[in-house]
């Protein structure tokens, strides 16, 4: 597909569909975020980039052999790893029996917030979320450093500034 516009739109559709998948897998918070980020912000940003760069991909003469090998090897390794995994939805899987039940049992008493995801996100693992906020902040610092400086009050339109 040479038209990057179509590529971006399709990747937006992919994000939206994966958000639906997350809903069916009971991850409503994740679905909400994926829809807002994948189908929303990312798409808008990529479109903005296309407006500044180019809307069509040039045909390429690169060899596809090495990428194919890399992908096949990685995929095979992943497949090998799944062989000892518990079945999908297994309530006796390690992930379901070790730490997670404690969150579900204790958070009503310790935090008393209906949405357990919020309780874990903001309190039990609140420090991760602080790091996440810092990552977002880093992105802003980075984008400003790359394509814009820190701005003070705008000097354009001096009449209105007074």
């Amino acid at each position: 597909m040479r038209s990057l516009f179509a590529v971006v739109m399709l990747s937006g559709v992919f994000s939206l569909l994966s958000a639906l998948l997350f809903v069916t897998l009971d991850a409503v918070d994740v679905a909400f975020t994926e829809a807002a980020v994948g189908a929303g912000i990312s798409t808008v940003l990529i479109l903005g980039t296309l407006a500044l760069t180019s809307r069509y991909e040039q045909p390429s003469k690169r060899s596809k052999v090495i990428p194919l090998i890399v992908v096949l090897v990685t995929g095979a390794a992943l497949f090998y790893g799944t062989l000892d995994m518990p079945n999908f939805g297994d309530p006796n899987a390690a992930a379901q029996t070790h730490v997670a039940p404690e969150y579900l049992l204790q958070s009503p008493h310790e935090i008393d917030v209906p949405n357990v995801v919020t309780a874990v996100l903001a309190s039990y693992r609140g420090y991760d979320t602080l790091g996440e906020t810092a990552v977002v902040f880093t992105a802003a610092v980075g984008v400003l450093l790359l394509i814009n400086g820190l701005r003070r009050r705008r000097r354009r339109n001096p009449k209105k500034d007074t």
Partner: protein, 509 residues
């Protein structure tokens, strides 16, 4: 624990040190943006870094005897909450990282002023602080997913800092982009590995994962988790076949950033690798043993030779040092794959010694870039006479890089050879010596260019300013100091190696 009956004893400043280690630089970063002042940015950054250094030294002094400090973020006991766990191994790395950043910042003031436009300085130091915070966070945490979060803080800011070299050479942008793509693939591999581990164990706390793997034994999911984590972190380490991002990134980044990254970022990544190999997975885990012996060891040896060989033929001092870094990472990985206490000690000492050596050398390169406007050999011809102090530091750093007795580099290579002989791997020991001979050649080329070639007649190059010379010489003197007083680093590294080898101390509830 129940929420109603909280047995609370007020924590003292001393108890809060692990959290403060991160927080000082963490809070300084948004403060710089808040003030938005060019003049305040550098002092804030320097003060934060210096305070961090003091904290790191205090932490190291508390854990050098082999004890472990566990700090529960948010007051939640692990594995429910996130734990900070300080032992000799990571306290040692914390000291290295904060020491280098405190050394590089005074140096950066002049160097960065010459290489980055002034309007960017406030944000530049913000990114620097975030990078430092990320590296410290990765080092100190005891929670596997928290490693990923802080790894991304440091990675994102690293990409940006490297791209700042674009004011000198536009290739910094592509170097940064390539690193971003490879780094993100690496981080995603790491996340896949964590997912597999979580599936097999149901927990994210490193000590808890270790306990549960030890209980239930390894299976195919755990093996692949190990493989993906090693490849993911290996990309950050620039482990031999995954090193492709490194030469360009180091060559085109601003000088101060190259010095900082070369001395800290790869070292922190190696620490993470060590932590996973020894504390989370056990070396007795056969799959790991085979990976180390049959994959990492050969590649480490290839790296030592091939990269040194490529370094010999470079015409750019900075790029030459970048290739030499890949070779030196090979020595460290070699030490790790010996899987003995001596080998591990050698790896950790070399991690430290190579850190200070490369800091000295890359800072010296920055001085040439400032004065001679470049680091190609023909641009620095005969500068041994025009910039005597800088060039003398290059000689000292170069000797340490080779591993001449009396320098820090000698100590670590000596221990490494000992480790190899101890295991009866005398061909490996020979290879270590042989590859050092290659280092002699590439260092000699620089010395030759600096001292044997005539200075161009029209050259008006002066010695670098004091603010750069002093950090360079502190690093260079450290190379000598730790060469003669090897006891200090060796005992610390030994404590670190032991704390890694005993594996996880288990959950401490």
């Amino acid at each position: 624990m129940s929420a109603q009956a909280v047995h609370h004893t007020a924590m003292t400043l001393n108890d809060q040190l692990p959290a403060l280690q991160i927080l000082v630089t963490f809070i300084a970063a948004p403060l710089v943006v808040m003030f938005g002042s060019l003049r305040l940015a550098w002092p804030i950054a320097f003060a934060a870094s210096a305070i961090s250094f003091v904290i790191a030294v205090m932490l190291l002094s508390q854990v050098i005897d082999g004890s472990i400090i566990s700090y529960h973020m948010g007051g939640w006991a692990p594995p429910l909450g996130i734990e900070y766990r300080v032992d000799a191994a990571n306290a040692f790395v914390l000291v290295l990282v904060t020491a280098i950043s405190t050394l590089v910042l005074p140096y950066a003031r002049v160097s960065i002023a010459a290489e980055v436009p002034e309007k960017h300085h406030a944000l530049f130091y913000t990114a620097f602080l975030l990078c430092l915070t990320g590296l410290l966070g990765v080092t100190i945490t005891g929670d596997a997913f928290n490693v990923f979060v802080f790894l991304e803080i440091s990675s994102l800011s690293t990409y940006v800092l490297i791209a700042q070299g674009a004011n000198r050479d536009r290739r910094a942008l592509t170097a940064s982009y390539d690193y971003l793509i490879m780094g993100t693939i690496g981080a995603t591999f790491f996340v896949i590995g964590l997912g597999f581990l979580y599936m097999a164990t149901g927990t994210l706390n490193m000590a808890d994962i270790a306990d549960r793997i030890a209980d239930q034994g390894a299976n195919r999911t755990v093996r692949m988790a190990f493989a993906f984590i090693v490849v993911g972190i290996g990309l950050k380490v620039a482990m031999y076949p995954l090193h492709l991002w490194l030469p360009n990134a180091y060559t085109f980044a601003p000088s101060a950033i190259t010095a900082f990254l070369a001395a800290t970022a790869t070292k922190v990544a190696i620490y993470v690798l060590l932590r996973f190999m020894f504390s989370v997975f056990q070396p007795s885990f056969l799959f790991e043993f085979y990976t180390l012996d049959f994959i990492i060891l050969p590649f480490a040896i290839i790296a030592m030779f091939l990269s040194s060989f490529v370094a010999i033929f470079q015409t750019d001092f900075k790029r030459m040092l970048a290739y030499s870094s890949i070779a030196q990472i090979g020595y460290i990985l070699l030490g790790i794959s010996l899987l003995t206490e001596t080998g591990l000690t050698a790896a950790i000492v070399h991690l430290f010694n190579h850190g200070i050596t490369k800091a000295a050398l890359f800072m010296a390169v920055g001085a040439y870039v400032l004065r001679a406007k470049g680091s190609f050999y023909d641009e620095i011809e005969g500068l041994g006479r025009r910039m005597p102090w800088t060039s003398a530091a290059v000689v000292v750093g170069g000797l340490s890089l080779i591993g001449v007795p009396g320098t820090a580099g000698f100590v670590s290579k000596w221990v490494l050879v000992q480790g190899a002989l101890e295991k009866g791997w005398w061909p490996v020991a020979l290879l270590i010596v042989a590859s050092s001979l290659l280092a002699v050649i590439y260092v000699w080329r620089v010395v030759e260019v600096l001292y044997m070639k005539p200075t161009p007649a029209d050259s008006d190059v002066r010695e670098a300013p004091m603010s750069m010379l002093i950090p360079i010489w502190i690093a260079a003197l450290a190379c000598i100091w730790f060469g003669f007083n090897a006891e200090m680093t060796l005992s610390a590294a030994q404590a670190a190696a032991l704390s890694l080898l005993v594996g996880s101390a288990g959950m401490m509830n």
